[in-house]
């Protein structure tokens, strides 16, 4: 599949996009809890995504667009619609996405 390299508007320069992923875009609110919410000072942050963005790409976008929580993002996982997902899972507008940083229940 053809790719566009170095297009960094949404995710940063390290990402290469399939052509079909770059056209329309959407923004998604990512829910924050615990240390992530404390560090960001809010309970959600908005991230711009390209259509077809996978969970891994959204994590990258979250790090680029909200650097203050990048270290927490790297140590945590994303949950989509209330469940953990694989990195290749495509995230769509309307999905409920949460950053699950290192947990400490019990």
């Amino acid at each position: 599949m053809a790719e566009i390299a170095g297009r960094d508007y949404y995710h940063g320069t390290r990402i290469r996009y399939d052509v079909g992923m770059c056209e329309p875009a959407f923004e998604i609110d990512i829910l924050l809890f615990g240390p992530a919410a404390m560090t960001a000072g809010c309970s959600s942050v908005r991230v711009a995504c390209g259509v077809g963005s996978t969970c891994d790409l959204v994590r990258e976008a979250l790090c680029v667009q909200h650097g203050e929580i990048a270290s927490i993002v790297k140590a945590g996982r994303l949950a989509v619609n209330g469940g953990y997902v694989e990195g290749g899972t495509v995230i769509s507008a309307g999905d409920e996405v949460a950053l699950v940083s290192l947990v400490s229940g019990g």
Partner: protein
């Protein structure tokens, strides 16, 4: 086989011991774990912990783990409670009750459940709880 998950605002009350109902005659072991807020947290003395949950997912993950324990170890019932909000020192913030025909599977499942909870269930604590 049954699972129950309850998220409670504030500390948990006392556990009421008793086996009956649908499982009368089948249960040979009831293992109860109470997680209690201790005064010493790291290098500091505290008055309370505050718990936060991504609630729908926390409930789903707790139920998933409970069902996994039942399927893996052949348990009869797993009941779990967890607090959100402020829980003072010496109060209970987490309770796991496992019932089985024999003690060993309940004791093994108890450790496995708690280990998994501390990895997978979206619950967070912070000192103070305000």
């Amino acid at each position: 086989m049954s699972v129950s998950v309850t998220i409670v605002e504030g500390p948990l009350g006392p556990h009421s011991v008793g086996v009956g109902g649908a499982y009368a005659g089948a249960v040979g072991a009831e293992v109860v774990f109470d997680g209690i807020v201790r005064r010493r947290e790291g290098e500091a003395d505290i008055e309370a912990l505050g718990y936060e949950a991504y609630r729908p997912m926390a409930e789903n993950e707790l139920a998933r783990l409970a069902q996994l324990m039942i399927d893996t170890h052949g348990l009869i019932a797993v009941d779990v409670w967890h607090s959100v909000g402020r829980v003072p020192v010496d109060a209970v913030s987490f309770r796991l009750v496992i019932r089985s025909a024999h003690r060993n599977e309940a004791l093994v499942a108890m450790g496995e459940f708690i280990d998994a909870l501390k990895v997978d269930v979206p619950l967070w604590k912070k000192v103070g709880g305000d």
